[in-house]
């Protein structure tokens, strides 16, 4: 799929912090609209695209869920001098912040505008002495737009969003680096899946979901799973790739295929079906073991309503939750293809054939 890279770059350049996903949702919607029969928004703003199946109604439905929200920062106050106090939206390690280029989404006088800024680490003499030369906690980091105080106070308001400004870069070996590859890489993979399904029919209904607010509590997935109550849920997210400082059993090689997760959050038969399919298609993969909470939307979809059998696929990614996350394009394509083949291959009676104990 030649257009994957530009589409992914577009996605990565759009804001869409948790609870404020509208800009990225719009772009995804535009891309999905010709690929699905219907597309709409959930009550909380998750994007739901429906491709109708061919089996007799009532048909089973597969939900494929990829979250589209991004982590970032939010303004909590304005200091004298016009510096901004910040807090996090989602899990941000304050140690990666000093010196980052950011965009302040100012919403005060004159309407919404984007102000470039940097995250300032004040010199030690201006910080509590007990910090010594240790990492500076978020409460002492500031965002500096360089503008005079008067102007900052006019245009920036408490609650305004601050997002990472770094642009995506292509690295060697068909990899890409940027912020928010967690989880726009999976949104791109789901889009690949929808494109692969063009001109093909499938027995099941397919709900393609770009969920909101994963980073602040799996909120979109929980509510969309309740709204759609699919027969089966497939969640796609990112996982830890092997790399500097990350090499143990919780990490997986970059560019060598997705992980298929097993553990309490996952229905073992759905897991096995994906694994068998990947073997058949000769798509490389690793098995990821999640003894407890998977830390993904799968944790929420499984316990929605009366319970929804759930499977989880993950794309290995380096440097998670930093502005330089790295993903291999090939893995995105593999996941897209695997999802498409899985969807197309679902027999109308698949749910009757799987049990927890085999």
């Amino acid at each position: 799929m030649p257009e994957l890279l530009p589409f992914l770059k577009d996605l990565l350049s759009l804001p869409g912090l948790s609870s404020y996903e509208e800009p990225v949702a719009k772009a995804i919607r535009t891309h999905w609209a010709p690929l699905v029969d219907e597309v709409g928004l959930s009550r909380l703003g998750s994007l739901h695209g429906l491709r109708k199946g061919t089996a007799k109604s009532p048909r089973p439905a597969l939900m494929i869920c990829t979250h589209m929200d991004a982590i970032g920062l939010m303004v909590t106050g304005i200091t004298s001098g016009g510096f901004l106090h910040i807090t996090q939206v989602g899990g941000v390690d304050p140690r990666v912040l000093p010196g980052q280029l950011v965009e302040v989404h100012a919403s005060g006088e004159g309407g919404t505008k984007i102000l470039p800024g940097v995250v300032a680490q004040p010199p030690g003499r201006l910080l509590p002495p007990e910090l010594d030369d240790g990492p500076v906690p978020l409460e002492h980091l500031l965002v500096d737009t360089g503008l005079p105080e008067r102007q900052v106070k006019a245009v920036v308001r408490v609650g305004d969003l601050v997002s990472f400004a770094s642009r995506p870069v292509e690295l060697a070996g068909e990899t890409i680096a940027g912020h928010t590859l967690d989880n726009r890489a999976s949104v791109a993979a789901l889009t690949v899946c929808l494109e692969e399904l063009q001109g093909r029919s499938h027995a099941w209904d397919l709900w393609a979901v770009a969920s909101v607010q994963e980073e602040v509590g799996l909120i979109g997935a929980q509510t969309s799973a309740y709204a759609l109550q699919p027969s089966l849920a497939l969640v796609v997210d990112v996982t830890f790739a092997k790399g500097p400082g990350a090499n143990d059993w919780e990490t997986f090689p970059l560019g060598k295929g997705p992980t298929l997760v097993m553990g309490p959050n996952i229905h073992p038969a759905a897991h096995k079906a994906l694994k068998d399919l990947a073997d058949r298609l000769e798509i490389p993969y690793a098995i990821e073991y999640a003894p407890r909470h998977t830390g993904t939307d799968a944790h929420a979809t499984q316990v929605a309503a009366d319970g929804i059998p759930t499977a989880l696929l993950c794309i290995p990614l380096r440097y998670m939750h930093t502005p330089v996350e790295v993903v291999a394009l090939k893995d995105i394509q593999r996941v897209g293809r695997l999802m498409a083949e899985f969807t197309a291959g679902l027999a109308p009676d698949f749910m009757d054939t799987i049990t927890w104990d085999n």
Binding site: S19, R43, G77, I78, T87, V89, E139, V158, G217
Partner: protein
């Protein structure tokens, strides 16, 4: 309104034991509601407005933090654990009252280090019993802080301002709301302090289209306070986020538009800890756009929580104006 606040805050009803406060509130809202009911977890639900209109749920919790006895020793001293977020430094020297009216004082185990804060399990309640035999209080009995309401003029102080002040705002809004195009459910919720439990189940039962909680928030306006851009007296706070949720931006816009149109003061709230019933509403069923109008409050979760009377009245005005007119998010 001050009298109402006094009555509400001088009632004892920790989480799970909201019967007493429910009776007080029921008396107030009975003449104001088209329909009143109590659900399985004890939430009091009052309906007002136009049936068939947009279903809007307003939640303010009527429970308060408290203590529950888990051991009576042979001399009649009571060991306890907490109901809700009680910090030990608010206990020492405090007084409590049990649901049957029994008063007690809080004492602590002896420590050689007088500067050290006792842990909760190093505190006990003394109700004046001389032995386990003559102690009327048993394991499982609950109590709340004893502290009378204080009217400082512009500022009001009481225990359980969190969230009886929200209940007061809701009751006064019901009084002020002449008509509404919406089907409004005022939910006086239970068990908020132990995890938003009442609001969670009430929301499921009502399946509202919009959810708004009315609760207290912290301020940054006391000496050497932590940084927070909310002060007493500058108007109700419109929550953008707290420690548990990001308010729905559409609901935030609705609140701000309404406040500006009615020329009411308001503040933008970003709270870094804590959360409200709105968090539970947001994730109910297929999701509910939710937000919160906060009453700025100092010394939250102490027996002396302080609010500003103007903020409270402006919160009533804001909620009333919002509910009086049609809304499309």
């Amino acid at each position: 309104m001050k009298r109402l606040i006094q009555t509400l805050t001088e009632t004892f009803s920790p989480s799970g034991y909201e019967g007493a406060i429910r009776d007080v509130i029921r008396k107030e809202v009975k003449p104001l509601a088209a329909e009143l009911r109590v659900d399985a977890l004890g939430n009091l639900i009052a309906r007002k407005g136009t049936k068939g209109g947009k279903r809007i749920m307003i939640a303010g919790h009527m429970d308060e933090i408290g203590l529950i006895v888990n051991h009576v020793d042979e001399n009649g001293f009571l060991r306890f654990t907490t109901i809700g977020g009680i910090r030990p430094h608010t206990l020492t020297g405090g007084r409590v009252r049990f649901m049957d009216g029994t008063p007690g004082v809080i004492g602590t185990d002896f420590s050689k280090d007088a500067g050290r804060l006792p842990a909760v399990d190093q505190c006990f309640i003394d109700i004046g019993a001389t032995s386990a035999g003559d102690c009327p209080i048993k394991v499982g009995d609950v109590c709340a802080f004893e502290r009378p309401f204080l009217d400082l003029g512009k500022r009001l102080v009481a225990k359980s301002m969190d969230d009886r002040i929200g209940c007061a705002v809701m009751i006064e809004t019901m009084r002020a709301l002449k008509s509404s195009p919406h089907e409004v459910y005022f939910v006086f919720s239970t068990q908020e302090e132990v995890g938003l439990r009442g609001a969670q189940t009430a929301t499921f039962g009502l399946d509202p289209e919009i959810g708004i909680s009315i609760d207290v928030t912290l301020t940054g306006d006391t000496p050497k306070a932590r940084q927070m851009a909310v002060s007493l007296g500058r108007g109700p706070a419109i929550k953008i986020r707290d420690g548990g949720m990001l308010a729905d931006p559409r609901v935030v816009d609705w609140m701000i538009r309404s406040a500006e149109k009615a020329r009411l003061p308001y503040q933008r709230e970003v709270l870094e800890g804590g959360t409200t019933d709105a968090k539970a509403m947001q994730v109910s069923r297929a999701g509910v756009p939710a937000g919160c109008i906060s009453i700025p409050s100092r010394y939250v979760h102490s027996p002396s929580e302080m609010v500003d009377h103007d903020d409270v009245q402006n919160a009533v005005k804001l909620l009333t104006t919002m509910l009086s007119k049609p809304v499309e998010l």
